[in-house]
Amino acid sequence: MAEIAASSRLITHSPSRTTDQGEAATAWLLSMPAIVLIVVFILLPVAAVIVLGFTDFELGYAGFKFVGFDNYAELLTDRTFKRSLWNTAVYTSLVTPVSVFLALGLAIMIEKESIGRSFFRTAYFLPVASLLVAMATVWQYLFHPTIGPINAMLAEIGIQGPNWLGASSTVLYGLSIIGVWQSVGFNLVLFLAGLTSIPRELYAAAEVDGARSGWDRFRLVTWPMLGPTTLFVTTISIINSVKVFETVKTLTEGGPNKASEVLLFSIYQEGFVYLRVGYASAMTVVFLTILVVLMFIQYRIQDRQVHYT
């Protein structure tokens, strides 16, 4: 079909070669600002980061020389960097599953409920629309070891709360709780959109076929039909967790004892505080590689997935 349509378009348009050329020229003109800006602000900087990663460039010093893979060799032995990779992985593996499945569960409940639907959606979505740096400050108060409401509540039931953001054993959990709180509403809204697009008849058909319990209906209809949404939501959640920065910068500065040092915070420290641009560029290349690999995995899974719609 598409081929036929394309060729018929060719036939109708081929006599007017000059207008075609005029159209192409207009197209170039219209997209020129975008092309220039993509080159200046995306392609060149990425190329520059890759090149700088092979140099010892430091801001404030004149000149630089190429050092081959020295920066990468240093990364391999850099304990802070390894710590920050590990912390980022831990944070991501805490936040992503909780925020995806919590959002899915809440979306299913909200979808079934006839009253208060928009209230619940608003309540869970509010954190997405709030200034994270500001709300992180509120969480800092909530988590405060002595005057914070969370530990005050725990004390009411006889539990002595930890020093959430101040102890290296709990700081990642504290940040993860904020991360989940901040991201659930976003995932929830995407799941709600996915749920409403599932045809009602499928549930009726599943019931006729003997899927009596809610769990059966979820397993046989909801979960497979939501496949693409779930994959998308999961990928976005992972990428956003890998990019965690605001809460760390605002609340912990990577501490205590580098227990909350994460990837972007390390890059920020090396590049913009210590101004070791070459070394920070090598870290950035690692960060970009992680993003590329994640996208690649998503495409592969998407290709294999069965599409029902």
Partner: protein, 278 residues
């Protein structure tokens, strides 16, 4: 279905949803409550939500005196507005050319857009910072806005939207003798409002909240955006004056939250439509 025939399940569901909503709203409740408490009150009774003395005026005026909130909010509005307007001006003609004109480079452009979608500001920040530093352009609105004037995501979104627009509309306009720019201005844009609103919400939420780039290019308080200003305020307060701190967060969170509450349907539609963030 089961919603009406099995009330117990419904009661459980409603309680779970309500309890969850309470947990998610708790930070806001405590923020509003603590913003009105005196220092002593905060230290003695953290679980009572009603302040013993009403300290809102004192805390708010303290917050306003330490950091000029008006300036922060003004900077936030200017930066978000400039970014959004530039993004629209750059992205819409490009997406139109890719979707509706015979354009040999459309495929290459698509690849550029896909690559661009993968690259966040965090990856390009280092060379951009060096370049801005060399050009003496740090500490300016230009530095805050320039890297975001191109939104490949915007191009992507508008491209999808324009593709679904009927070609007849454009042919008719051409027969009427309209130029391509005229078509964009008078046919495409008026028909693309849903996509433009969705993109506006996406763009404003992203850049109003962004801390990373302003933190890098701004060291002069006069150009601080809301997140950066709050960071300065925290540093100046040295931590424990939670009354003033909560008053400041309240003032700074309010505009976007209010906008969300007023236009939440559009917000949710916008986020669903754009689907992407950050």
């Amino acid at each position: 279905m089961s919603a009406t025939s099995f009330p117990l399940a419904r009661i459980v569901r409603l309680s779970v949803l309500s309890l969850g909503a309470l947990v998610f709203l708790a930070p806001y409740i405590f923020m509003i409550s603590t913003a009105g408490k005196a220092q002593g009150d905060i230290f003695t009774s953290s679980l009572s939500l009603i302040p013993q003395q009403w300290f809102y005026v004192q805390n708010v005026s303290k917050a306003l005196s330490r950091v000029s909130m008006g300036n922060l909010l003004f900077n936030g509005v200017v930066v978000c507005l400039l970014i959004f307007v530039m993004q629209i001006i750059v992205a819409i003609p490009c997406a139109y050319a890719m979707a509706k004109l015979k354009f040999g480079a459309a495929r290459v452009m698509m690849v550029l857009v896909m690559v661009g979608l993968l690259v966040p500001i965090h990856a390009t920040a280092l060379p951009l910072y060096v370049a801005f530093d060399k050009a003496g352009a740090l500490n300016s609105y230009f530095a805050l806005v320039a890297p975001f004037t191109i939104s490949v995501f915007g191009i992507f979104l508008f491209l999808q939207f324009f593709r679904s627009m009927p070609d007849d509309l454009i042919h008719a306009a051409r027969l009427d003798g309209m130029s391509e720019v005229g078509i964009i201005g008078r046919v495409i844009v008026p028909n693309a409002w849903p996509a433009i609103t969705a993109f506006a919400i996406f763009s404003v939420v992203a850049h109003w909240n962004d801390l990373y780039w302003p933190l890098i290019v701004i060291s002069n308080q006069a150009y601080a955006t809301p997140p950066l200003g709050l960071l300065y305020f925290r540093a100046a307060e040295a931590g424990d004056d939670y009354g003033a701190l909560m008053a400041a967060t309240l003032i700074i969170t309010f505009p976007l939250v209010a906008a969300f509450l007023l236009a939440q349907k559009r917000f949710v539609e916008g986020i669903t439509m754009t689907g992407l963030k950050g």
